[in-house]
């Protein structure tokens, strides 16, 4: 949200009227943050001079002009964040202090492992309140507590923090430049708290790409028990020009694509995931993209056992970490590696001789591409025409009307 001088002036004037002078004089208005929620409401966060905005700030709701409607003082300086590792999630422990604008009616939330364990008033903490440190239902909430939306504390690797509003229709994060970020929802309106944290790997999964492990994890959502559990894998080829299936590239210089569709069903429940291997971006060596709705010109489907499905998932996850190379390790190599991990007869294709330009490096390519969508298409068509045992599992469609099924998306 762009902030006008008028907004800031009105915000300052409102707080000057509402805050004790000693507090007002400590505020760093040149560092305040604003956000406009999806509902069109305006919020501001004003830090103190010399104190990180992630540690202590005034959390305010304003009108569009910057006039303060209500607010509270939030102090997170007693929170301790232990960064996570690859195998261990980050933890957050300590206390969150909240009070009204004048610093009174303080509520203290005890946080353990990212969850609110207990809410107390400062009076009860000192032993003078109603009942052994427990929250007193008669104790009035801090001013604005009932009307301000709660915030989501976002913790980053360097222990700084940001905030989000829980009245947003979705959880958002603001750290595109970070390697990763973690968020913790702290919701004081309920005694027991919501999910404590979710990992966000911003750089590892750039926009438009998917985390293969989170994609494959969704299959855990369907039980392996019962008599109707089925597992399937399908390898799909999308050639660049349907009327010329052997053509290297189309007018957009696309060489086509090969990808995998995995499906697990149990009774009426079905989850499908279609995904493929792509060149890396933003410094990564390769990426996996969701291929739902992608066109299919040739495909081979296989029924799998539960054990084979597990092998496929392991291979898909492991091979996704290899380096993409258009000649030696491309999308077709990836898809063949995944499906061949459970085939008794390895599926192979004929090399495709090419002369062209590598758009990434600009180099001439007097080479043969070991595996390609074009050669996979030709292979599957030959197998279909030969009428072998798998012919009925092969589908050839040059009409652009076959598409990959809807994918489930990622699961945490």
């Amino acid at each position: 949200m762009s902030v006008t001088d008028d907004y800031r002036t009105n915000l300052e004037n409102s707080l000057m009227d509402s805050l004790p002078a000693v507090s007002f004089n400590q505020l760093a208005f040149d560092q305040f943050k604003t956000i406009r929620s999806a509902r069109g409401l305006y919020y501001a966060r004003v830090p103190f001079r010399g104190v990180s905005i992630g540690k202590k700030f005034y959390h305010l709701r304003t009108d569009s002009l910057g006039h303060v409607i209500n607010g509270k003082l939030v102090d997170l300086s007693e929170l301790k964040i232990t960064p996570g590792t690859k195998t261990q999630k980050a933890t957050i422990d300590g206390r969150v202090h909240k009070s009204n604008l004048s610093g009174q009616n303080e509520v203290i939330e005890l946080i353990k492992s990212g969850k609110i364990q207990k809410k107390m008033t400062s009076a009860s903490l000192r032993g003078g309140g109603g009942g052994g440190g427990e929250d007193d239902p008669e104790e009035p909430e801090p001013i604005g507590e009932q009307t301000l939306p709660e915030f989501v504390l976002v913790c980053t690797p360097d222990n700084s923090s940001s905030w989000m509003l829980l009245d947003e229709p979705e959880i958002n994060w603001d750290f595109p430049e970070m390697d990763y970020a973690r968020y913790y929802e702290i919701e004081p309106t309920t005694e027991t708290i919501t999910e404590s944290y979710v990992d966000v790997e911003v750089q590892a999964v750039p926009p438009g790409k998917v985390d293969i492990l989170k994609l494959l994890k969704c299959f855990d959502n369907i039980s392996n028990y019962g008599g109707n559990v089925t597992f399937k894998i399908k390898i799909n080829a999308d050639v660049p020009i349907n009327s010329l299936p052997g053509a290297w590239i189309n007018s957009s210089l696309s060489p086509g694509h090969t990808f995998i569709t995995l499906t697990k069903s149990n009774g009426t429940e079905t989850i499908s995931q279609s995904f493929g291997f792509y060149p890396g971006e933003s410094g990564s060596e390769s990426t996996i993209r969701n291929n739902e709705e992608r066109e299919i010109n040739a495909s081979l489907e296989m029924n799998l056992s539960e054990e084979q499905f597990g092998t496929v998932i392991t291979t898909a996850g492991t091979y996704a970490g290899t380096t993409y190379n258009v000649i030696t390790n491309n999308c077709t190599d990836y898809a063949l590696a995944v499906i061949n991990s459970v085939r008794s007869q390895t599926l192979t294709t004929d090399p495709l001789p090419v002369w062209g330009w590598d758009l990434t490096s600009g180099n001439i390519l007097p080479e043969t591409v070991n595996n390609s969508p074009q050669s996979l298409y030709a292979k599957l068509k030959d197998m279909k025409n030969a009428g072998g045992s798998e012919a009925s599992q092969i589908n050839i469609d040059d009409s652009s009307s076959s598409h990959a099924p809807e994918s489930h998306g990622e699961c945490n």
């Binding site: 957009s252 969701n290 739902e292 600009g362």
Partner: protein, 128 residues
């Protein structure tokens, strides 16, 4: 020394112009969004992820909204906008501007949408 000179000359005469031409004839990947940014997508033409694919995914998104996403009810989700303007100086793209369906979509500035939406959410139909 002579070999080095030949390589440099070859670079200048062959490689650089060819790269420039490849850059020119390679169509630009165009980005799309609905009015509130709950659906966003970008083409990846070098691998065939084109506007037709994005249209199919947008239909999927709208079905998804109708069935599941009650929080989107009443919001402006159903119209797809093009986020890349038609730049008159890109004469090599005039054919695309005139005949490609994606350029018949209304244009909207991404900053306007981003200010409404805020940051990218946890919605799988948002690719940025």
């Amino acid at each position: 020394m002579r070999t080095v000179l030949v390589i440099i000359v070859a670079l200048v005469i062959i490689y650089l112009p060819v790269r420039f031409v490849v850059h020119l004839i390679s169509p630009n990947d165009v980005s799309f969004s609905n009015a509130d940014g709950t659906f966003t997508a970008t083409e990846y033409l070098k691998k065939g992820d084109d506007y037709d694919l994005i249209k199919r995914r947008f239909e999927l998104f709208k079905n998804h909204v109708r069935k599941n996403e009650t929080s989107y009810v009443g919001r402006d989700t159903a119209v797809l906008y093009r986020l890349d303007p038609m730049r008159v100086w890109q004469i090599w793209n005039y054919g695309e501007f005139l005949f490609n369906d994606k350029y018949s979509l209304p244009y909207k500035n991404w900053e306007e949408i981003r200010q409404i939406r805020g940051s990218k959410g946890n919605n799988r139909f948002q690719t940025f």
